[in-house]
Amino acid sequence: MSAAQTTAADLPPAKQKTSTGPGAGTGSTGAAGKPARKGAVATPWLLLAPCLLVIVLVMGYPLYRLVSLSFQSFGKSELWGFKEAEFVGFDNFAKILGDGVFWSVVLRTVVFTVGAVVLTMVIGMLIALLLQKVSGVVKALISIALVASWGMPIIVATAVFKWLFDADYGVLNYLMSRLPGVDMIGHNWFASGPQGLMVIMLLVVWGAVPFVVITLSAGLTQVPKELEEAARLDGAGAIGVFRHVTLPILKPIIVMLTTLSVIWDMGVFPQVFVMRNGNPEAEFELLTTYSYQQAFVVNDYSGGSAIALVTVLLLLGVVAVYMRQMLKIGEVE
């Protein structure tokens, strides 16, 4: 561990605020810095200092500002500095919570998130199980397709889906019209909110499934074959084996993936924003875009902050579950 202590001085990058030794030292003969071995209590904090500094400055302060903003009245004149922000107590929250539009946005966000997460997890699990059944070549093909879609920048994926679902020239309308009795030529998927959000959900799921499949596949390889074998001998069917053997063993991974998915899917922004050309209609508004709209379109920064804060609070429960899981894993080592 004292190795780590001295590397602080030896690492080439210069962002070391608490540098203790000669900064240029790159030789392996480590110019053991000033801090004596006894300084071991301070060492980890010195190592952490730059990281904590950045996080506190650029995350902690805005987080504090987010909270304080939502208790203030902050509009355009405050932005330009003509007026001091005024403390208004719970006014912003009272306004939001008393607004029917807000509640419909909350409901839509919850439905969207639940839908996307359930679809992601179910499809992900099915594909992960399928990967165990197919031959090597097919497995490789699916893996490549998965990683390619995982690696696609969200913004590019959104552009591609916009093209696939285009009303006039979109290939999806064409394909669906080939089915007997279906005429979808010229069908505008974004004319109605629910349908448009379904397309966006599909886009989110398409991007999220690969991570789930690859993580679950890794987990599946760790399920002891003997256990499955034993369960089968005891008369369990395929579904029984899955429910009573595979699922319990995969549970930690599934909890982690589900919580992560909830957090990610609730934070969906560019997909909606870009699909609706930077100006989502009321029917497409999710909590994230709604908060953005309040702040930067209506110029009510405090109202927008209050909405964002409510979003964060809604997520806290999920985050707590995720953290517990991660800490459990962390304690193993």
């Binding site: 053991a32 952490l48 903003l69 497995k139 390619a148």
Partner: protein, 282 residues
């Protein structure tokens, strides 16, 4: 019909059935990427053919030419490169120090730091855009690459620290100690024993961080003006009031996606392992 055994030698026909389903899954998952490439390389007028061709017949680079002339491409790409590279270099340096602290030292408050870092990672970035915008506005950092770099650092760092920690704890302490017994200085032990083992993990983490920074959209949109837009925002230029030029947009998408997807293919395996290391044991 056993769902969980990897090889049921008996059922040759059922294996065939699974393979057919597998190929279907492959086609569905891969189709959007295929269609992007297909559209990018065919003449723009074929792209709006009412009965589209699924297999390429003619090959053209016209869409790429058009994509490059719609608005400046290399400027945004250059800016994205600068931002992503600087973020990764600083992020890895700072992150490695922090990762060493929480993985190789036992100290009071270690757990709080870990919880804190994990918690920061969980704050939805979208929720922070308003205060970050106001903060950078106050600091005179609106429309500056430095402002964007500092902002990206905060979302790269927690992830970097956590992943590097995962790689470090997998390197047995005993290796280091053995090297010291053999006469290495602590620094020497780290540089000769731990560092080489950590290097692949660091490369993977850097590449992943680079991809994250490169792909970011919302902050790039809000914190930079039109003249200083980055690569992701550039892609919005294909949609104007007169509609969207899809074929050039797909060409632009291809140019943006291919390098990233290739990078991703290279590091993906390593990252997936790092992200969930030990999850099953939990």
């Amino acid at each position: 019909m056993t769902l969980t055994t990897p090889s049921t030698r008996k059922g040759g026909t059922s294996r065939l059935g699974w393979n057919v389903i597998g190929l279907l899954v492959f086609a569905v998952v891969g189709f959007p990427v295929y269609w992007m490439l297909n559209t990018a390389f065919k003449p723009a007028k074929d792209a709006i053919d009412p009965s589209p061709q699924f297999f390429p017949r003619t090959f053209t680079l016209d869409n790429f030419r058009r994509a490059l002339e719609i608005s400046d491409f290399w400027g945004p790409v250059g800016r994205s490169l600068i931002v992503s590279l600087v973020v990764v270099v600083i992020g890895i340096a700072v992150g490695l120090l922090a990762a060493l602290a929480i993985s190789r030292f036992a100290f009071r408050g270690r757990k709080i730091v870990i919880v804190g870092i994990l918690a920061v990672q969980m704050v939805p970035l979208v929720a922070m855009i308003i205060p970050v915008f106001l903060l950078l506005n106050d600091l005179g950092q609106y429309d500056k690459l430095t402002g964007l770099i500092i902002t990206y650092l905060t979302f790269i760092l927690p992830f970097t620290v956590w992943t590097l920690r995962g790689f470090i704890v997998n390197i047995p302490k005993e290796l280091e100690e053995a090297a010291q017994v053999d006469g290495c200085t602590p620094t020497g032990a780290f540089l000769r024993v731990v560092f080489p083992l950590l290097a692949p993990g660091m490369v993977a983490t850097s590449v992943y961080g680079f991809i994250q920074a490169w792909n970011e959209y919302l902050y790039a949109l809000m914190l930079m003006s039109q003249q200083n837009q980055t690569a992701t925002v550039w892609l919005g230029n294909f949609t104007t009031k007169n509609g969207t030029e899809f074929a050039p947009m797909m060409a632009g998408s291809t140019m943006m996606a291919i390098p990233i997807v290739v990078l991703f293919l290279i590091v993906q395996r390593k990252m997936a392992a790092g992200l969930t290391a030990g999850a099953v044991k939990g």
